[in-house]
Amino acid sequence: MKTKIWFVIVTSAIFFASALHADDFHNIQVHGEADFRYIHTNSDSQNNTDFSKFWDGGANQDLFHVNEAALTLQGRLNWSWTGSITAKYGYDAKNPVDISEAVLFFKPVSTSPWRINARLGSFFAPISLENTGTAWTSPYTLTSSAINSWVGEELKTFGGEATVGYHLENGDHVDFFGAGFGNNDTAGTLLAFRGWRLHDYEATISDGFKLPNPTHIQNIFPKQALTTQPFTEVDGRAGYYAGFNMERPDVLKFRVLYYDNRANPTIVENGQYGWHTRFGSAGLKFVLPFELTFIEQSMLGNTQMGGLVGTHAAVDVNFWAHSFLLSKKIIEGHRFSVRYDIFGTHKNDELVQNPNEENGSAWTVNYNWFFLKHHQLNFEVTTTNSNVTMRSLQNINPTQNETLWQIGYRVFF
């Protein structure tokens, strides 16, 4: 239903405006990407699938598949408004093809230092400093950081965002932004029930994810469905995020954001609980001499679900993660990147049968070669060590070492 509504609104706006202004604007731009992967995974345990840190982890296996194929339609409606809609096929997705973003941008020109702009539709909150490419790809790595993997899975803004910025003539600017949104009441489910993960799957707007160890979860929470729907409105109460961004273009970017989905944790609707999720996020990007780029991101938050059990909600989990990426453009088209991720969750609640504790870290090393303007070849390895107490429920050693080898060929157009 949501897919249809946003698809109709944004595509209608794009095509209606393009028909009106056919002589003035070369309106419709089509871009996209296709992503083919060979992957090889290693894990200490062959049964560590539910609580693996990787999408296809938990067993020693070789896979070859079309990882993703995305198509973005962009249109300029007039001098101030543009529209963009992205549909994608995702490997292992609930729907073969679905919308991942549908957004109208308002960006009027300003002849004063103050500028305003706005976004309306379904889009990613401004958290990732790495996923800047077509269809939310990263120019640095195939696998996203723990933070950005979770953003891709469970966070999406369905609503509006407004920004007020103050610009200096040298290009420096500071922007204050705020957004109101719905349909994000289940954000936090996967962090609490499964923990962090490292992948590059971005949920589409009517997506769903199977819960890990679902029978155990249903034994504790019989009303919980076996699948979590990340973009669901449970309580009819809007959430918000707000923050600021400081930028010296091509040199430095610093961004801070606070998010609160204001979900009511005691309401369950169609098997979906409200998860009251709040977090702070900060990111720093430095463009250094010698073609080096440094990106750091941090996130610290808490999620709560269910009525009180003792002094806490039935599930009350703190979560945190940091990532540090250093990337070097070796020569034109050749890039080498290294990222270190460290992440964890800590249980505050008193429900002993649901041990949501984890600590982990990961190294990702990527070399990619961009050639013939549109093609990119990636060689990447991610290795992670994590201690997840929930693994013990499946008689697996809580501490697991896992490695993911990938060769990725991507074409952008």
Binding site: D24, G333, R335, K373
Partner: protein
């Protein structure tokens, strides 16, 4: 932040002309790289100013860049902004001395923009955020810009001059290098001046192809 040390080498050659002397210079880096489109102005002590001819100047939009990236004009001149790309540009400036906006379809716009007040006008494009250009509007009686080899020439009468070198990437207060120079028929004084230049600065060029962003 690391900074490259750039080297401003000024070679002055004076010819014996009764009314006008030729002052020449070359702006290069320590690596010998020429600095393109730097602005040189000369202000003397003489009260008599040369009569400046006013002409229509041009800044084109080509391959999603301002061409020229830097244009020096004298106050009162006008600049027209044609669009050689097959997409729209929305040029604007919020510089206090000359703020304006102009919507550019393909081809030549109806009107040029007049720049009446001296100052530096920074240009942007509301559609392509990376685009940046500069109009250096000056009251100075003598001014010129460096060519692709970093060379420049000014024809001046003998006088004491305040010589200003400006480039948006000069890492000094207001991006300028100022020096005093006494110009007479006898003197031949090659000048050397070292300045630092920002290593990371806005180029005004589209993002690299491997940024995975379509440049449109």
């Amino acid at each position: 932040m690391l900074k490259n040390l750039w080297h401003f080498v000024l070679l002055s050659i004076f010819s014996c002309n009764v009314s006008s002397l030729t002052l020449q210079g070359t702006v290069t880096t320590t690596d010998g790289e020429p600095v393109f489109e730097a602005v040189i102005t000369a202000v003397g002590t003489a009260k008599n100013k040369p009569s400046l001819t006013t002409s229509l100047r041009t800044i084109d939009q080509r391959n999603r860049e301002f061409v020229s990236h830097i244009l020096a004009i004298h106050a009162g001149e006008s600049v027209i902004f044609p669009n050689s790309d097959n997409i729209q540009h929305h040029v604007y400036s919020f510089s206090p001395t000359n703020s304006f906006e102009i919507q550019l379809y393909k081809g030549m716009p109806a009107k040029p923009i007049s720049f009446d007040k001296a100052g530096i006008v920074v240009l942007g494009c509301n559609i392509h955020d990376w685009m940046v250009g500069y109009v250096y509007v000056t009251d100075a009686p003598y001014f010129t810009q460096t060519d692709a080899k970093g060379a420049w020439t000014l024809n001046l009468p003998a006088d004491d001059y305040t010589l200003t070198l400006w480039h948006p990437n000069l890492d000094s207060t207001n991006n300028v290098q100022i020096q005093q120079i006494k110009l007479n028929a006898e003197k031949t004084a090659p000048l050397e001046q070292k300045v630092t230049l920002k290593t990371t600065s806005r180029t005004g060029k589209p993002p690299a192809e491997d940024s995975q962003n379509p440049v449109y």
